[in-house]
């Protein structure tokens, strides 16, 4: 099975998905966060009747619209890419994975697209209450859409609520609620939303700071700053909290990813949390792949053990424990898992033979085997390992995962500080005198974008080679088409999205410089 991998096809298919996902994610968080900020501002307008607030609302709404359009444009390709480029995946898990995508459309996208028209074109056509409700519905709709796609992503990281059906050669959903309330998905949803609110708050704060630097629209800028810094502070604290929850859950369900995030080659008790570290190649190898070790690190003693299990003596497994196994801590080795995966795969082949030879007794007994809980938990859950040749093939890119994770966390803490300082100056009424801080806010606008993309890099790079954790490697999921076609579409999307991004930024900057003129 692994011998037939077309690496060119696989790499370009992955590159295309990464490209389109990264581009899409440049716009989504601002949509998620700004939609709520705009709704809050409009609420203040409707409650106070103050025309200034109406202008503030409309200014941010214009920026929202520009960003929303390109978010939609880059988003459509992602939904269909599961089919175009990952068709084997789409069949293998479509029974579970398709549902959230359909629900996303029916429940969320229609709310968004229906009421966004009212939001933009309804100012003079509907009454102010209906308009306000529409603005809130756009915010709720866009955030709901995030829920469903993150449920789908969470399921790939931690597949639950399903059973394999050998007759159809696919996984089938057995519990919708298990899929929806998958802990990984819940954590992911909350972390994604809070970090998006943070990003949007920094965006509003940075641009408002620019108005203050230029001494333009000071009244509106200060009000926007106030809303953004309160919303942003809450969001940044929530981001830290949900990030911690997420990491703990990852340590349980994706221990290899977790070990990569911490660059933990060998497991230990009293494991320290790395606050800052620089990696180098270690002498220890798994197969041909050298492990990583620290050339330099600042470590908070025992904190990693405490954060993962609430106990400083808790053992945190490293990459080598997870590959070689560790009897003391009851960890299976790669070879154990591969053997079990092969048992499951062999059972599937025997089932197909039985169907072909019309051996009904054997067919039924294997079918019963696949639906038994112990077979699912002890064998089928390692199904994907049967397609992987060497132990080192299940190690993700450690440096990329480690640095992305740590840079994201550092930025996360810096944002909390920024919002606190902003509130401090706002309440003392001295924000416009501290021009250094205003400049800082302006130049900090890209930072949450970087942090947010890094978060996704941790999530997606850290789980390689799996498209579905332990069940299906990316190499088995890819659509079998000529690599030339995928290379061509990669460059088509790369040029198109880059061009559109340039246009978007240019339009946005112009609109900001024009200011709230209405």
């Amino acid at each position: 099975m692994t011998e037939n991998i077309d690496w060119t096809l696989l790499d370009w298919s992955r590159a295309q998905f990464a490209l389109t996902a990264i581009y899409h994610w440049l716009f989504v968080p601002l949509t998620l966060g700004l939609s709520f900020l705009v709704a809050i501002m409009e609420t203040i307008y409707v409650r106070t009747g103050n025309e200034e607030w109406r202008r503030i609302t409309r200014f941010w709404m214009t920026l929202f619209g520009i960003n929303f359009a390109i978010g939609v444009a880059t988003g459509i390709i992602l939904e269909f890419e599961f089919g175009t480029n990952w068709s084997n995946y789409s069949w293998f898990v479509g029974d579970i994975f398709g549902a959230p995508l359909a629900i996303e459309g029916i429940v969320a996208f229609f709310i968004e697209s229906t009421f966004i028209a009212v939001m933009f074109f309804g100012w003079n056509k509907v009454n102010s209450k209906f308009h306000l409700v529409s603005t809130w519905l756009v915010a709720i709709g866009s955030n709901l859409s995030a829920l469903w796609i993150l449920v789908a992503n969470g399921w790939m990281q931690n597949p639950v609520g399903m059973a394999f059906n050998p007759e159809m050669a696919r996984n089938e959903m057995v519990s919708f609620w298990a899929v929806l309330f998958n802990q990984v998905s819940v954590d992911k949803f909350l972390h994604t939303l809070s970090s998006s609110y943070l990003l949007a708050s920094m965006f509003v704060m940075g641009i408002s700071s620019w108005f203050l630097i230029k001494k333009m629209e000071e009244y509106k800028a200060k009000r926007s700053l106030l809303v953004a810094s309160v919303f942003g502070l809450l969001a940044s604290l929530m981001t830290a909290y949900t990030g911690d929850e997420s990491a703990r859950e990852i340590s349980k369900v994706q221990p290899v990813k977790f070990a990569a995030m911490e660059a933990l080659a060998k497991g230990k008790t009293n494991a320290g949390l790395i606050a800052f570290g620089v990696l180098k190649e270690s002498e220890n190898k798994i197969g041909e792949t050298p492990l990583k070790e620290f050339a330099f690190k600042i470590e908070l003693p025992s904190l990693l053990s405490i954060l993962t299990s609430g106990d400083k003596n808790a053992f945190v497994p490293g990459i080598s424990d997870l590959l070689h196994g560790n009897q003391t801590y009851n960890l299976l080795s790669f070879n154990d898992k591969k053997e079990r995966g092969e048992v499951a795969r062999k059972a599937l082949f025997m089932y197909k033979d039985a169907v072909k030879t019309r051996n009904i007794e054997q067919r039924d007994s294997i079918k019963a085997l696949f639906s038994s809980k112990s077979f699912q938990e002890n064998y089928f859950r390692y199904f994907g390992y049967a397609s992987i040749e060497n132990a080192e093939d299940i190690i993700p890119e450690v440096s990329g995962t480690f640095y992305s994770f740590h840079l994201m966390v550092m930025l996360g803490f810096a944002f909390v500080l920024l919002f606190v300082i902003a509130l401090f100056y706002l309440f003392r009424g001295t924000i416009d005198q501290n021009r250094w801080f205003l400049w800082l806010c302006l130049f900090a606008i890209p930072l949450p974008y970087i942090a947010s993309e890094l978060g996704w890099i941790v999530a997606e790079l850290g789980r390689q080679p799996w498209i579905i954790q332990d069940l299906m490697p990316v190499s088995k999921a890819v659509t079998n088409i000529g690599p030339g076609s995928v290379i061509a579409t990669f460059f088509i999307f790369a040029f198109l999205f880059t061009g559109l991004l340039i246009a978007e930024i240019s339009i946005m900057v112009k609109q900001i410089k024009t200011g709230p003129k209405h």
Binding site: T62, G65, I66, A69, I70, V72, A73, I76, I77, E79, F80, G83, T84, N85, S87, N88, S90, W91, G94, D95, F97, G98, A99, L101, A102, I103, G105, I106, F109, F110, E112, S113, T114, A117, V118, F120, F121, G122, K125, S134, M168, A169, R170, E172, M173, V174, T479, N480, I481, G482, S485, L496, G499, L500, I502, A503, S506, I507, K510, H518
Partner: protein, 377 residues
């Protein structure tokens, strides 16, 4: 157990109906694309062009969302189709998506200052989407009747038989005929929508004058497609064994054996023709009120013909037994049932769309509104 009451069979049929309904709504909503294909030729001046783009532009997102939901619902209910068609007919779907990406930015960016590429480029994007979207979607749907070049292995992994990855569909004149029919139908609905929503006598006259030619260009390929399909062989699926075979006059048999579908189809065609008639000869502004339900009904009937009565809805012409039916391509009973509960929200969704639509469309679009400084495309 409820299994006894709501069987897998029922759920598969139910979901084929839902998917067909979404497809029919999509074809009707492509009046937006139809309108886009007219932006360079229909308006007599810049103001008319602005009004046209704003009239149809306020609905672009709805069409787009319907397409996305159609994709999602198809994925959830018939994942093997999703995997096979999207993975196999790669270039057709990529081309369709590409045109919709262009559309999604074009409205919002076209008239904004400093948009880098200039208004003409974004208008060209709208035109490209307006032409390619309906044409290619129509062509892709025609392969539901004419077959595609794929095979599936025992793990249901798709292999396309040529390196055109679906683009070869345009070489079959029947596929192209449906593509053209959908394109001109979208233009008809676009013209009628413009007549209905824009308050400008000259633009109305211009739209009416374009209507006759577009109607002819719609009717000729449409009738050609329908007649050639009814008279040709079809892909029949044995309900007991799932075995696929070619059957002479299969789709004609389907039409006769499912009289309700025949009635729906004729009602749909009658609706479209009546809408055209009153717009052309009675100077009515309300043609779109008849062509739109007509479009929905006719497309719905076409999907019924493709999927029901023991028919393969996504047949393979190169490996007959790989053909997809609503039986072998569907999700599990559990998933379909779960999704059925979700689908109960659809009437609610339609209700709020209707309400919001009315609240925005209650005043006709005028040149005064375009000059008022309010948000516009």
């Amino acid at each position: 157990m409820t299994t006894m009451i709501i069987s897998h069979l029922f759920l598969q049929n139910y979901w084929w109906v839902i998917v067909s309904l979404l497809a029919s709504l999509l074809v009707f909503l492509m009046f937006v694309q139809g309108g886009q294909s007219l932006i360079f030729t229909l308006p007599g001046n810049d103001m008319q062009k602005t009004m046209l783009i704003n009239a149809i532009g306020r609905k672009w997102d709805l069409t787009f969302t319907t397409l996305v939901t159609f994709g999602g619902a198809f994925f959830a209910s018939f994942p093997l189709f999703y995997a096979t068609s999207f993975g196999g007919a790669y270039w057709v779907w990529i081309a369709i998506l590409f045109s919709f990406i262009l559309q999604a930015v074009a409205y919002e960016f076209r008239s904004k200052p400093n948009n880098v590429f200039g208004q003409k480029t974004f208008d060209l994007f709208l035109f490209l989407n307006g032409a390619l979207g309906p044409l290619l979607i129509g062509t892709a749907v025609a392969t539901f009747f004419t077959g595609s070049q794929f095979s599936l292995d025992s793990m249901r992994s798709v292999k396309w038989a040529n390196s055109w990855y679906g683009l070869e569909a345009v070489l079959d004149v029947r596929n192209l005929a449906l593509g053209l029919a959908v394109f001109f139908l979208a233009r008809i609905n676009g013209l009628l929508y413009i007549i209905n929503t824009i308050d400008d006598e000259d633009l109305k006259q211009r739209s009416v004058s374009r209507l006759l030619l577009n109607s002819i260009f719609f009717l000729v390929p449409f009738l050609f497609f329908v007649i050639s399909i009814l008279l040709s062989q079809g892909f029949a699926a044995d309900p007991a064994t799932g075995n696929i075979s070619m059957e002479k006059y299969k789709y004609l048999h389907n039409l006769i054996q499912m009289p309700l579908v025949l009635v729906i189809f004729l009602a749909g065609v009658a609706g479209v023709l009546y809408g055209l008639f009153i717009a052309l000869f009675k100077k009515s502004n309300y043609g779109v009120w008849f062509t739109s339900p007509g479009t929905v009904l006719a497309v719905f009937a076409v999907f019924m013909l493709a999927g029901f009565n023991g028919t393969s809805f996504y047949p393979s012409a190169s490996d007959l037994q790989s053909s997809l039916t609503i039986r072998n391509a569907s999700s599990s009973e559990f998933t379909l049932k779960t999704m059925m509960f979700v689908s109960f929200l659809v009437p609610f969704v339609l209700a709020y769309i209707w309400y919001a639509w009315k609240s925005i469309n209650n005043k006709k679009i005028t040149s005064e509104e375009m000059n008022s400084g309010e948000h516009k495309y």
